[in-house]
Symmetry: C2
Subunit: 349 residues, 2 copies
């Protein structure tokens, strides 16, 4: 029986007989695992879209449904903790479907010996973050695993949102000529985590950008912006989000690095560590694809809000090679911006 199952399992054919950290890293290996393992097995059109959430038509009502597990290490970091991540991460996936976040579930996997005060602090963060995002936690579950079989606390949240407009927002909606808009500066979440990881401390304090993005997205929709696609920047950073979208949309995306806002302390920290901010994780930033004729109005709308103050057009969708992302560097040379095989930092969210 084992032999049969192995033979029919497509993933070991790629020489990975075991799950690696990279299979959860938001890069090429995770992409392969999802494409070869999960999508074929659970075959249905919603999953195959590879959107941030599923758009469900339930008796004529359009709902968005999404889930994420949070395994960030350490649990607390400048600008947030696993609790704020668990709320905002799922709120943002709903927002990327163009939905108004309404209801959350919360599943806690606790390691035996977790300090009750730590749990309490995380739960209070979740309470505040849920209130800030205007979402209700309506159902939950608690599990405890033996000491040494977990890592203090993992949290899963799933979310339901209401789609209140008729616009189809998905990679399939992208067109050559679309402007690529970025909602703010990049790299802060990843570098905030890095700043508290074992032994790595920077002089200046970099805070995570962790924030709920739904209001910003809903304001664009209210403004009548013809949003074609949205994608938040998480594991794998801006570069991975662009690559995923370029592949799903079958479009080429050209980016101008000079237009991508990176704060000086993030740039400095990245240089010290040999990291590229384009690949560093974010938790409160997204890219919007809109017709170029709507770009200025969209930027004005975003910049009027604190979370979108640094919004910028960073590139264009062009006719060219489907799936390709190119980057014009700060010195003017154009190169391919590829998908990394894994996240630079494991367990970033």
């Amino acid at each position: 029986m084992t032999a049969d199952l192995t033979a029919s399992c497509p993933v070991p054919l790629n020489d990975y007989a075991q799950v690696l950290l990279a299979h959860g890293g938001g890069g090429r290996l995770m992409d392969q695992l999802i494409a070869k393992m999960f999508v074929p097995a659970f075959a249905n059109p919603l999953l195959a879209e590879r959107h941030d959430g599923a758009l469900i038509n339930l008796d004529g009502r359009r709902l968005a449904f999404t889930t994420d597990s949070y395994v960030v290490r350490p649990l607390f970091f400048p600008g947030g903790d696993i609790g704020t991540l668990a709320i905002n991460g799922t709120v943002n996936d709903l927002a990327m479907c163009g939905a108004r976040p309404l209801y959350l579930s919360a599943g806690f996997i606790m390691e035996e010996g977790l300090s009750m005060e730590t749990l309490w602090r995380v739960v209070q963060s979740m309470k505040r973050a849920a209130a800030d995002a205007g979402i209700q936690i309506v159902t939950g579950d608690t599990k405890v695993v033996d000491k040494g079989k977990g890592d203090q606390l993992f949290i899963n949240t799933a979310g339901i949102g209401r789609v209140e407009h008729e616009r189809p927002i998905s990679p399939a909606g992208i067109r050559p000529g679309d402007a690529v808009l970025l909602s703010g500066d990049i790299g802060r979440h990843g570098m905030a985590i890095m700043s508290v990881r074992e032994g790595l401390q920077f002089e200046s304090s970099i805070e995570s950008d962790c924030a709920p993005l739904a209001d910003l997205v809903l304001s664009l929709l209210n403004e009548g912006i013809e949003i074609h696609c949205l994608r938040d920047l998480t594991r794998g950073g801006l570069a991975s989000a662009l690559n995923e979208i370029a592949q799903s949309a079958g479009a080429q995306i050209d980016i101008d690095q000079n237009a991508v806002p990176v704060h000086e302390e993030v740039q400095g920290a990245c240089e010290i560590l040999g990291l590229d901010p384009l690949y560093v994780a974010n938790e409160g930033r997204f890219v919007a694809y809109v017709p170029v004729s709507d770009a200025d109005r969209a930027l004005k709308t975003m910049r009027a809000q604190a979370l979108g103050a640094e919004a910028a057009q960073i590139g264009m969708v062009v006719t060219g090679s489907p799936g390709l992302v190119t980057l014009k560097s700060q010195i003017g040379a154009r190169r391919i911006l590829d998908l990394l095989s894994s996240e630079q930092l494991p367990r970033i969210c």
Copy 2:
């Protein structure tokens, strides 16, 4: 700051400064943790109901929404695996809301080094179980944690179901005079897990009862049975489910042990191990509270289906002490059937 937070954290006041395995065991400690930590923090009426899922009214449509994480050890056991559990467990929570299961999310937390073949086998089980339950997996997430910081594989599923009837099904609906119906024999899931746990092997093979319960529940609703409340029997077994309902409903429940079906091999295994089958976990059984005038018709409907073949009336809701569960034992003595402080077996689901 730490001192303030500790002072405002109610749980350590109960002398538990750390999370114990029992806090996830379905017994008294888990009950306290939920009541004192999660319900007050995430305060909203849906969570406070302590139902198996939240009943949401979305623009006039009634939906059920629920979540569970699965941390069962070992991953494979007679009659199922973590994949079948992850589908059926959440399907059953939707069924207990009287809902038709429609959509599932799936979040995988994998430990680095997990065998790809093991993952593949679990995913195939999920595929089959989802097809059997008529539910679609429409969105998902994969995370990987470092070797030694997990235990091969944890799965979270969240589910959405449609409530297709007007009946309010919840503990508040229970009335003195209601019959307590049990859908089948008890104790098989817990003893199946036990049979493969380290060093404990029985001669006869006991298979888990893991199964999707939605069809059985929907058939009762189609039959016009006036269901007042439903509860599936999971962690903590029949005794815990009865206690939770008696407390939530503010009612007394009297049970006749002679009426509770327990298969001979389960009874024998329990006796060897000193376990009480009333507290052993199940994954394909539920209790229904219906007016006694509907009891015979409900039993006939259930018994016509394989999953309900051994359905039986096991007791009555009576006026008496709110929250009390009493048991008339096999030799006729009546005693209080209490909530254990924890599950007899950790990580049963």
